[in-house]
Symmetry: C2
Subunit: 253 residues, 2 copies
């Protein structure tokens, strides 16, 4: 029996990356798509509790493609599991995101949060992102997701752990040097707020930023991609800094 796989993303249900992912995964799995009705990038691990959620059928090429939800990627996984699907999916795949989700950006990533939410619900999950914002070629990333799915289902991930996959933007698979198992990078960013005045003379701000590269080790997510490796990072959602527990117990509080 084919595995039953839930696909979602944070770029929105109309995004080409999700469509390419669905084409590749449909070759080997029964696919259901539940994705945000609009772009939810940098949504973090937000869930919607103060507003009602709505679910709409979404068509593509004249056929039913999936369910659009007026919520975040984590909302999509949660409502799929509890209210849309009639059985628990065997896996959740989130992506293919336009733009990498590496280093500190992982904590802001809606793409990763959907995979994490899969974990919360006890479902094996991974996120796939393409390391570019222009001229994306999703094919190589989609084929890697297709290859990774059966391995994840066979090998099994530890409870509460998902994989964060980042793929270099190359035209053909042969340009990929291989797969590197990495850790989340610690590269720093320098952000700015671009201050502007609107036509009614009110001030507003746009967030902009640029990375200040600080890490060079090959086992770092960002570094691997730059060297044309596919980066695979195991992530969990236990945020406890265990190394600091005993020091902190020595504080007088």
């Amino acid at each position: 029996m084919k595995p039953y796989v839930l696909l979602t993303n944070d770029d929105g249900i109309f995004a080409p990356g999700l469509y390419e992912l669905s084409l590749a995964i449909k070759e080997i799995a029964d696919v259901v798509i539940v994705a945000p009705d609009s772009e939810r990038s940098a949504a973090g691990h937000a869930i919607t509790i103060a507003d009602p959620l709505r679910v709409f059928d979404f068509e593509k090429n004249g056929e039913f493609f999936g369910y659009a939800v007026n919520g975040t990627p984590a909302d999509c996984v949660k409502i799929a599991y509890y209210a849309i699907l009639d059985r628990k999916p065997d896996a959740v795949i989130s992506g293919i995101n336009l733009g990498s989700n590496t280093g500190i950006n992982v904590i802001y990533s809606g793409t990763v949060s959907a995979a994490t939410e899969g974990n919360v619900l006890g479902i094996p999950a991974f996120a796939v992102s393409l390391a570019t914002y222009s001229n994306p070629n999703f094919k190589v990333a989609a084929q890697f997701a297709r290859k990774l799915l059966p391995v994840v289902l066979e090998k099994k991930l530890p409870l509460g752990t998902c994989l964060n996959v980042n793929v270099p933007n190359v035209a053909e698979e042969k340009e990929i040097k291989g797969v590197k198992i990495t850790r989340q990078g610690k590269s720093e960013y320098e952000d700015h707020y671009d201050k502007r005045t609107d036509p009614r003379n009110h001030v507003y701000y746009w967030l902009t930023g640029s990375k200040i590269d600080v890490e060079k080790e090959p086992e770092v997510d960002d570094v691997a991609i730059t060297q044309n490796y596919i980066s695979v990072t195991p992530l969990h959602y236990d945020l406890t800094n265990y190394n600091f527990l005993s020091d902190l117990r020595g504080w007088k509080l």
Copy 2:
């Protein structure tokens, strides 16, 4: 010289918990408040990149109280640092949240995300939450924050680590049994979506949920609070599951 402290929250700038926190911290620090203009609970670590941010002066009791931002808690810390404050604050304190932020809820918490964002910017930070949704008494939590601030500034937290403080809702400090250094709990939740039909006959869903307690160890955040201890958990934002790295390297990918 008094420390310069940025206060924020996710319940919104009008929230009583933030006000009580500001009263307590103003006794020992120069305080600036930059908080969301509306409730942003369960905002996760979201930041606003697709919409412009606006900053408004917010008054309380006829006086300037702080800056209201049409963004998330993480946005507030970021824009405070880059566009509102004229110097780097010595600390960020987020809260006092109405409702605990423990266990898995930590990953959805806007309150915690503001402290994390402080860390991202290299500022010592902690989040304070009150473990109740009704009849809150913020005084004990506010006094604990006042006590914790100088300790954090003196002892120093490791880079990229904040403290997640959860305080039982008691009338007087003497009801508190002490402070427990804890880890993020792993208790599971069972969520539901309440399906309703609006007056125009369209279906919508409300998220509801209840905790299924699975952990009993005293070193768990939730358990400590239930036993009337103040829970202090060190959190970091490196999500890498290091224990799984070598196993994963054995997979054929």
